[in-house]
Symmetry: C2
Subunit: 415 residues, 2 copies
């Protein structure tokens, strides 16, 4: 692949990109390439850490002047990445433009790409993913396994699907089903389980997708990176551990408990999605394993992702450095795990809003093989992502035990 | 130790420090503690990365407005850390003050400590180490094994030691010996091997120590951290690999090839030096293994150190995070290695000065298990430290082979 960097996309932007950036004597590594980043949250903050190592100059756009990236970017611009004019003006000062959030103005990205700014991932890939309706249709059309679904424009559509047909036909859809907002859902918001007729009153009167509720035994994710040469590298599958009592995700761990066959299938699926999207950058592919043993694609995110946080420390190359390598026309790094890893999100405690205090953190810092990553947010809110912990150990069982201890010790409360 | 944090030093500053910072409801972790850092080079830059994870607010003082820390510190002050008034003014705005270089104004640190600023390591520890004459005397007085030495004030003293005594006694010192400047030596500068009478003309006419040249089989280093509670944690010994042809250090690796007995002895030695110095922070203890199988202390550095760079990625807790934990009154983290590691310094090529270009870096980035850390310096000079590489692999032999490949591929030249 490296010998023929432009072979596969000879006529595409990828080729031009690499002529410009990756040849010997390039401007990379000594701060002359300006990388623009839309979004200045914790994901951006972790990208900035990696940018340090590669001497990459990063400009960040975020509406919040106190965003996690605000103090650490080479340049920080306060502005709305959803606004056409703002993104256009910001992007025109950049050589390469990328994202840490998918909810950005894609029309501006299209114009910028036409103007010669290297935009990764492409506006097409982002717009396909940022609308869950388009995303599901794209997956289904390409033959990727995914739960059956239907587009609904509003609650009228929704009621019609659960009611009898115009000629008295039996209803097409049955409870339970899952309703998802096509746009703007995030961190579990915008998803509603419809268990019965009664739950229809919880439905949004907005464009949604109605999804078949599948019986699953595991929730999984694969993070895959793809660079401007079309080279892909995927990380070992991550699995979510649920607390059986609370039915909540307790933590994520890797390697997963998948059989070697299913692991290979998950990796192949993720790489294939990235390739068919022609994606340059990082892609998180969330998967379900059904009770019948089938892997289904649940959702995509065209960026570094929570399910890859453990790669910071656990993997030879973190997803954050990998993303930079991918969009800057560099070879991808090793994705192997150094040791089994568990990742725990540090979430704001329910009922607490205000200046944050991390109770029990000293005790947590004493746990072996544990690292704390805080995101620099001064205010906590219920379930707000304030940081994460990673535990590495010789065995996964050991890492899980330490992660459970940490969860019991740490409470993110308002002062 | 944790149950009685103040037990051992009940009347000391350590106790007050922790009452102030480490108790529940402390100001740590949400950016209300201002940590001052004297020196803004690459060591500081890697400390800043770790400060991000713990939400620590860092102010940096360095004379160079383009120092590696300049863009990434919360606050960056241009000024000379060797100047009394500058350090005093800078330190008065800090809750805790630490260093990334030992050549700082210790008189100002003494005054600041009296004024209630928490200064770690102490002015006493820094001043003992920054003068190699005092450092050697301190080691010898405490009974630490170290090569025989003598203080010399100038070249007159030096000639006297190699000449006959006033009553015709045989000379006290013989060639070969090693002459070291007491102050200001760095990275091999300030050290002169005296092979014969002829080499005396290379001697500095300044305060030096004359050291016995010992026959050594290995050069080693142990990095140890000690926190405000007096808890110590040391990293597995690092060994230097020499190129037999060029007789130059090729790279550092860990774990070392020491026998378990010698490894334990090296660890004990390093911890004991840190304890007897009453040091809070990080200490690098450079060691020789002599042909007779004895470990000698060569030199001390009261700070994070080049021989601990592999800990960033190879260890559960990097030396940089460990240093922060130590000076901020936090528990120390695990020092175990995730995998065998090799560290290679990325040095400016001889004969090249000017804007830097990293030739071959794309090929280096393709090597498995390898990470590149550049320091953000725009200009290269012969042998200037521009960055470092770390290689992790399942076996040390594999990591060494990859490191050798990297060294052959990478050339740091002027554009």
């Amino acid at each position: 692949l490296y010998d023929k960097p432009c072979g596969r996309f000879a006529e595409s932007d990828f080729c031009r990109m690499n002529e410009q950036l990756a040849l010997p004597g390039s401007k990379l590594f000594y701060r002359d390439v300006r990388l623009g980043l839309l979004g200045g949250g914790q994901l951006g903050r972790m990208i900035l850490r990696s940018a340090l190592d590669l001497n990459v100059h990063v400009r960040v756009l975020d509406p919040d002047p106190n965003a996690p990236c605000a103090r650490f970017a080479d340049e920080f611009t306060v502005g709305d990445f959803r606004n056409f004019d703002t993104v256009l003006a910001f992007g025109q000062g950049c050589d390469v433009l990328t994202i840490e959030i998918e909810d950005v103005n894609v029309e501006a990205l299209q114009v910028l790409a036409q103007q010669g700014v290297q935009v990764f991932p492409s506006a097409e890939a982002i717009s396909t993913i940022q609308d869950k309706g388009l995303q599901k249709r794209w997956l289904a059309q390409r033959g990727f396994p995914t739960a059956a679904f239907e587009w609904v424009a509003d609650t009228t559509d929704l009621h019609a699907l659960f009611g009898p047909g115009p000629f008295g036909e039996a209803p097409e859809w049955h409870f339970p089903s899952v309703l998802k907002l096509r746009r703007g859902g995030f961190d579990g918001r915008g998803v509603q389980l419809l268990r019965s007729e009664n739950d229809l009153q919880l439905a949004w009167d907005a464009p949604c997708i109605l999804e078949q509720k599948v019986d699953i035994v595991r929730e999984l994710a694969v993070v895959v990176a793809r660079n401007t040469y079309g080279e892909t590298a995927s990380y070992p599958t991550v699995e979510m551990e649920f607390n059986p009592e609370a039915n909540l995700v307790e933590f994520l761990f890797s390697p997963s408990s998948l059989s070697p066959e299913l692991e290979a299938q998950a990796q192949q699926l993720a790489r294939s999605v990235a390739e068919q999207l022609n994606l340059v950058g990082t892609l998180a592919v969330e998967l379900f394993l059904t009770t019948s043993g089938q892997l289904l694609v649940n959702e995509l995110a065209p960026r570094v992702h929570n399910s890859g946080h453990h790669t910071l420390g656990a993997s030879h190359t973190s997803q954050f450095e990998q993303h930079l390598r991918a969009v800057l026309g560099l070879p991808l790094g090793s994705t192997g795990l150094k040791l089994p890893a568990v990742m725990v999100n540090v979430l704001g405690a329910p009922g607490h809003s205000g200046p944050v205090v991390y109770r029990g953190i000293e005790e947590v810092l004493r746990l072996p093989g544990l690292r704390v990553h805080l995101y620099g947010k001064t205010e906590t809110r219920p379930f707000r992502k304030m940081g994460h912990l990673t535990v590495l150990a010789a065995t996964l069982a050991e890492a899980k035990a330490i992660a459970r201890q940490a969860q019991q010790l740490l409470r993110v409360e308002a002062d």
